[in-house]
Each structure stands twice: as C-alpha cells, then as structure tokens.
C-alpha cells in the first residue's frame, strides 16, 4: 500500500475506532448509543440552523489547525496557539471598538491587527528559540498564561470601566452577516469562513509554491542540510512562528469580530487553540486534511450540545470520543502495523 493511501486511511480508521470505543463506553454506562449518534448528527446537520452553527465553529478550528500545522511543517511545535488566539481576539476587538471607519477599511484593519498581534506573540518564542535555543514548547505554554491574564487586565481597565466585557465592536468592523444569518435560520454564521478558506490557500501556496516555503520545509526536515545549503535556520524558525502566530491571531478575530462581537474576561482558556493541535494532527498537517479535520471536530462539538436534549446522553461523551480519536491518531503507529499485517495476509 502506498504511503499516501496510508496517510488517508490512518485518520479515517482512527475516527472509526474512536466512535466504536465511544459506543462501547455508552453501552457500558447504560446509554442508548444509537439515539446518541442520531442526536449528534441532528445537532450538527439536522437543521439548517445547526449547519450554520457548525460552519461557524469550524472556522476558528481551521485557522488554529493551520497555525499548528504550519509550525509543524518547519519542525516547530507551537503549543501557544491558544495564547496567540487570545491576543488576536483582543487586538481585533480593540480596533473594532476604538473608532469607527468605513467598513472596507475598518474590517480589514481589525482582522490584520489580530494577525499582527498573534504574529508578535509567536515572534517571542521564535526569537528565543533561534537565538538562545530555548525550547518553543516551554515558552509558548508560558505565553498562553501571559496572554490570558494580560488580556483580562486590558479588558477590565482599558477597554471597559471595570466591567467583565468590552462594548460590542462597531458594525463597520464586524464579520457578522445578516445575509448568512438569514440563510441559516438566524445562526451565528459569519464571513469568517471565507477568511479561513483563504488562509488554507495561503498556507498551501507558501509551502508548495514559493522558494520561502521550500526553505521552511527544508529547515523543518533537516536543519543541518539547510545550513549547509546556505539557508538561515534562525530566520526561518522565526518566520515560521510568526506566520503560525498570524493564523492563530486570525482565529481569535473570528471569535471577536464574528461569533461574539466583543471580548470578555475569561476564567480559563478557550480550548480552541489546543483543539487546533488535534485538528492539525488528524489532518496530517496538510491544508485539505486540516479542513476535513476541522469539519469533523466542529460538527462533533456543535452536535454534542444536542445530545443531552434529544437523547439524554451527557455531551462530555463527545469530549471522550474526541480524546479517543486523538489517541488513535497519536498511536497511528499501531494502526500502521495493523494495516501492514492485513496487507501481507492479503498478498499471500
């Protein structure tokens, strides 16, 4: 079997295994698995409203997945997508509430501010890695906490009068779309999905078509050979983190300018940034794979909300299934061996 086929089959098997084990868990704990899955499906696609909500949820997942996947292609593990997302969210809302401009300037400005903030937040770990070989995983984790608390502080003191949320962004900076909302029975679907799909194209274009992408990939695969060939390993590491952070910042803009339209004090992380790791992993760090994985995770998350209502199954079960899928993808080595065995038997 070709390795390309395997790269497609392994994630599919992982999803199936996750669902099978999830089913077993439901059966053991005495829930009606069939009803649960029907509820899950209905909750994600059963109604045009739910479909709209699913696409809305998919949007930040795609961008968070791109952020993790892009860094990974260059051999970096960006755990800081969550923090970059939070600063992106904050920056977008800040620009959105600070002044009113014509929409064709204001909206792009707010979106770009989010990308810039995320990029800056990722630049720091990139710089530390390139200059002092500080491991990016440690720095990005710390930067997540700094982002969370700094954002909370700014929301409380600068963007509001000791309130727990900012004002709504001006309509000129909003991604909201009455057209899309009307189309989907008044879901919160917004224009962000277009931004996300453009970014998928950008990632693919940079990596596959540009000489810079060639360098980034070369550095990711083999730093020694890249250095020998005259590439600057350091600047490529920094650039990779910056681009990754920009994607993450955009994911924040989707929430800040689209879904919510404001930023609020958070007790904890959004989780989108961390789910981005799972999306990238399941999607094999490829642009198309990331879209598919984001669709899966988005529909699971949105559909899960319907499970307690319709089937009386706690929606935490979906978190278990997601965890199982991630587990089986991470343990894909096992699945690969399994495929090889079957392939051999088939050949004999």
């Amino acid at each position: 079997m070709s390795s390309r086929m395997k790269n497609i089959i392994v994630p599919i098997l992982a999803v199936l295994l996750g669902i099978i084990v999830g089913t077993i868990i439901m059966l053991i704990t005495g829930y009606d698995a069939g009803a649960a899955f029907i509820a899950l499906w209905d909750g994600a696609f059963g109604d045009i409203y739910y479909t709209g909500e699913t696409i809305r949820q998919v949007t930040p997942y795609i961008l968070a997945g791109l952020a993790v996947g892009f860094a990974f292609k260059t051999g970096l593990f960006n755990i800081g997508v969550e923090g970059q997302l939070i600063v992106g969210w904050l920056a977008a809302v800040w620009v959105g509430v600070a002044f009113e401009l014509p929409k064709f300037i204001h909206l792009p400005l707010a979106v770009l501010a989010a990308a810039a903030a995320g990029a800056l937040w990722a630049f720091i770990p990139g710089l530390l890695k390139a200059k002092f070989r500080v491991h990016e995983v440690i720095v990005t984790i710390m930067m997540n906490y700094i982002a969370l608390h700094v954002a909370n502080y700014i929301i409380r003191t600068v963007l509001s009068e000791k309130s727990d949320r900012t004002a709504d962004v001006f309509p000129s900076a909003s991604l909201r779309s009455p057209f899309l909302e009307g189309l989907t029975d008044y879901s919160r679907l917004h224009w962000g999905i277009i931004v996300a799909l453009i970014c998928v194209f950008i990632m693919w274009f940079i990596l596959e078509k540009t000489s810079r992408g060639y360098e980034l990939k070369a550095v990711g695969f083999n730093q020694h050979a890249s250095e020998y060939a005259g590439m600057s390993v350091k600047s490529n590491i920094i650039l990779s983190m910056v681009i990754s952070g920009a994607f993450a910042g955009l994911a924040g803009a989707m929430e800040g300018l689209g879904t919510f339209g404001y930023a609020s004090i958070r007790g904890g992380f959004t989780g989108v940034g961390f789910d981005g790791i799972a999306v990238a992993l399941l999607g094999g760090n490829t642009p198309i794979g990331i879209i598919l994985a984001a669709v899966l995770f988005g529909s699971l998350k949105v559909g899960a909300l319907n499970m307690p209502l319709e089937a009386g199954v706690p929606n935490e079960l979906v978190d278990i299934i997601i965890a199982l899928i991630v587990f089986f993808v991470a343990a894909s080595y096992m699945i690969r061996i399994f495929i090889d065995r079957i392939g051999k038997k088939g050949a004999k």
């Binding site: 060639y214 360098e215 695969f221 083999n222 060939a229 005259g230 600057s232």
Partner: protein, 507 residues
C-alpha cells in the same frame, strides 16, 4: 569436513526484494573466512540471520554440525557466536571492564564484583595479546583500543566464532596492522573468524577462504591462495574493474585556495586548527591524510562557512572568504560534497529532484520573484540524474528511497554542475562499492582536468594515494607534511599521521 558454521541455502525475503537467495556459507574451524560483496549485496542480512535478528524463509544453519534455530541474539551468544560491530556499542564514561560486563554483571551480595571481573578481563586480554587496560575509561582510549574492547566483550561471553563487520574502516594503517596480528592470535587459540569487508587487500593479507555474494546471490567460495584481487573484484561486481585510477599528469596553474595561519576552535571550544597553512592550485587534487579527529572536520567547516574561525585567512582566487556565510562561500565558487550525506548533503524527505537545487532554488530560473518554477527544477534534475547515472525510479522519488551510492552520485552531480572553482570532497566514497567508487574518482579527476582545484578528504589511504596529486598530512590541527603520492609509502604516511616529525625540504 570440520565446519564450525554452516549456512546452507539461506533465503531471506523482504517485501518486494530477495535480500539473500540460496546463499551457502561454510566456515571451517580455525580459519579467517571473508564475506565479500558490494554494498547492498546482502552481507549484513546474512550475518543478521546468523545472529538471530532475522529468520530465513528457507535454508538451514548448522553450528558444529548440529542443526540449530537461532531465533534471537541471545541464542547466538549461547552458541558461541560473537559480533564485533562496525559502530562500537560502548558507554563512553564507563571503564573498559564496566563496558565488558554490561548485561552479564557478576554480583556479590547485590553489588557488582568489579575486582573479579577486572581480573578476568586482564586474563583474556593477556591471552590474546590485546593489551587493554581494564580500568581505562572508553572516552580516554583510542579508536583501535575501543575496537579491542569490543573484541574482548565477545570473548568474555565465550565466543568461539567472531564476526567482524568492516573492522578496518575506522583504523589507521598501524592499527590495521595490529588488528591483523590480533586476528591471527585468535585463530591460533582456536577461534574462527568471519570478516565482512569489501576491501580486497585485507582479504588477500589475512583470509584463508572467501565467499562472494552479489545482489543477494551466492557466487561461490574460493581459496585466497588461488585467487587475486582482480578476480575477486570481478566476482564481486560482475564485470572487469580497474583499480589504478587512470589519470594524466597534473598541470597545476594559479592558486585557487590559500589558507594562512588559520585557527579554529571545535564545538567544545578547544583549539582544533592551530595555525594551518595550505595552498591548492587550479588543476590539482590535494588529498588530506590524517587520523580522524585531527581537525579535518573543523578545517572543512571553516572553509565552507559552517564554522566561525578565530584568526588567519582563507583566500579564494585571491579574495578573502573567511567567516563568510555558507551561502556566500557557495556563491563565491566553492562546491562541497559533505562528509555525512544524510546529515548535510540531502533533505531525505524531499524528492531527489528538489534536492538537486538545494543551494540554487532561489536563483533564476528555479525561482521567479519568490515563486518556484517546478518545471525548471525537475528539468534540471532530470538532466543531472541522466548525466550522473543516478538510479532512481523517478526524479519525484524521495531521496531517502535511493541507495547510498545513488544518493552520493546525486550530490556529486549537483556540486559539479555548479561548476565551482574549488570542489571539496569529504569522504566522497565512504560506504560505497567498487563500481560507484570508480565512477566518483573519475568525476573528481575530470574536474581537475577541467582546471578546477579539488580538496579531497579521506580516511582511506588507498584513495588518498590513488587520486591525489599532492598529499597534505594533517596532525593536531596543522599540516605537518606535504608529500608526493608517487614517492611515499603507506608506512611513511602512517607514521606522519601518527605525529612523527619529518624534515621536508622546501616545505
């Protein structure tokens, strides 16, 4: 007949290939039996079958006449089969004794009985003339000595049959000589030896019989006394091979590379190059001979910009290039066939075609305004693959999937094609078989004949002597002598490499 090891009709398959096909190897007690074959011929597979790492699909293994099933290395050990690995399996900060007993420690009340072990190691060492200090730490002893520790390890475990895997690859001529003596002592004491090698000279010198395998098929076993290197080479490769590299007299012209009083520190910050002077002219090949670790790596890294140097000067065509970035060095006209092709030479996960533009991808026509032109890249790659006879299913195949020889040909094609004024070739034939070596030597000489300067670094004295027009001997970070390959001998070179002084008129 008194065979101690018999491998009869061994067949071992991997998905898609037959690594061993009906190979028969019979080793007599008390002989040194060579296993000869090109890289990828199936030598290692056969030995891994004997050592219990692979199970053969067909065939029978007999030890001392008894049919055995060797399903894991422990069984091989119990049967008295020991392996001296090419890459030593030693723990550097441990002593010789600690390394030897590792895995079969003698304990007394829960504590390792190091005294008894040391005594036993000393006894074995004396018996076979190994002269190893059981208390020395591995990191403090020479490579040759480390190899003897590996030998001791197998003897300590009661090996009767020793497999040596390319044992001379890392040794100086003197050390090789000593190793040969040790092998002879081992035979005298009743051991049997299987020597895996592709060096014909060694076979002629020490072996009694030789079994040749080619492309996984056993070609036959011959008595060394009844054969000669030429016949062995043809058996191994399957065609006539010339050894003496054919070349016309060099006609050196202007100076291309001038290194003066160069000082470089190694990765630990210790001086590695200590005031080195070296000049290479257009149209000549200068070979660097030296024992590994005398500054060769640092010298090449300093020239190519991979390592910063402390002081001195490196002139290329009269222009200072010292401490230039690797890209600027490359653009100034230096080609570099790196020592470690997997680490430095190739991005193994890239298609072989994309590896062909590793240094030039950003230049026209491969890149236009930052956008790659894959059509041009693969056109170039296809041309080079054809010209340099790189055997690959296609230019889109990942570099990882190519054999070592073909990977090396690809690198050489890439470097030569840039038409550099100075071509640095670091161990260009390491691990390659006779056919590929011949090809690569021809290409180096071709560069020379085209008026380029070639710097050759090799740990194979034969190669240095055959290919170079001048030999520069490096010792402790300095060029200690420059000799004419036609007037020197391996003995003289070996002594110089070991640091003996020699007065050279005019140097």
């Amino acid at each position: 007949m008194d065979y101690v090891i018999e491998m009869l009709g061994i067949r071992k398959e991997f998905p898609g290939i037959v690594a061993n096909d009906n190979i028969t190897l019979q080793v007599k007690k008390g002989e040194i039996h060579a296993l000869l074959g090109e890289n990828g011929a199936g030598k290692s597979t056969l030995m891994n079958v004997l050592f219990g790492l692979y199970q053969p699909e067909q065939g029978e293994i007999k030890v001392k006449g008894k049919s055995v099933k060797i399903t894991n290395p422990n069984i091989a050990n119990d049967l008295g089969i020991g392996m001296v690995h090419q890459h030593f399996m030693l723990v550097d900060p441990f002593t010789v004794t600690e390394n030897i007993i590792l895995g079969s420690e003698i304990t007394k009340g829960g504590k390792i009985d190091i005294k008894t072990a040391e005594k036993k190691v000393s006894e074995i060492s004396e018996k076979y003339g190994l002269a190893v200090d059981p208390r020395a730490k591995i990191q403090d002893i020479s490579v040759g000595m480390q190899q003897r520790v590996e030998i001791l390890k197998t003897l300590y475990r009661g090996a009767e049959i020793l497999i040596f895997d390319e044992p001379t690859a890392v040794l100086t001529p003197q050390e090789i000589h000593e190793l040969i003596q040790i092998m002879k002592t081992l035979i005298k004491e009743g051991k049997s030896i299987i020597l895996i090698t592709h060096k014909l000279k060694e076979i002629m010198e020490v072996c009694d019989r030789v079994t040749v395998i080619r492309k996984g098929v056993g070609i036959g076993t011959v008595n060394v006394s009844e054969t000669n290197p030429n016949d062995l080479a043809s058996l191994m490769v399957g065609r006539e091979v010339t050894f003496k590299t054919e070349k016309i007299e060099a006609s050196p012209k202007q100076e291309v590379l001038q290194i003066q009083d160069l000082r470089v520190k190694d990765a630990r910050g210790l001086p590695a190059i200590n005031g080195l002077d070296l000049t290479i002219r257009a149209g000549e090949i200068v070979g660097i001979a030296g024992v590994d670790g005398n500054g060769q790596t640092e010298l090449l890294e300093a020239i190519t910009g991979l390592r910063k140097s402390e002081s001195g000067s490196i002139l290329l065509n009269g222009k200072e290039i010292r401490n230039f970035s690797p890209r600027k060095v490359t653009e100034s006209g230096v080609g570099h066939i790196p020592q470690d092709r997997h680490k430095h030479g190739l991005v193994l996960d890239f298609p072989i075609g994309e590896n062909m533009v590793l240094q030039t991808y950003y230049q026209k026509p491969y890149s236009n305004g930052g956008i790659l032109n894959y059509k041009e890249i693969y056109k170039k790659a296809k041309g080079l693959i054809d010209e340099f006879d790189v055997r690959t299913p296609s230019e889109f195949t990942p570099a990882r999937a190519l054999s070592g020889g073909n990977q090396q040909k690809a690198i050489i094609g890439r470097e030569v094609d840039r038409n550099p004024d100075l071509l640095i070739a670091a161990q260009p034939t390491r691990g390659l078989d006779v056919g590929a070596i011949e090809f690569i030597h021809k290409r180096l000489i071709e560069q020379r004949d085209n008026g380029k300067a070639v710097l050759l670094l090799s740990f194979e004295l034969d190669e240095v002597m055959n290919v170079s027009d001048r030999i520069a001997v490096i010792y402790e970070g300095q060029i200690v002598a420059i000799v004419d390959p036609k007037e020197t001998t391996e003995q003289e070179l070996g002594l110089l490499m070991a640091g003996s002084k020699r007065k050279e008129a005019g140097e």
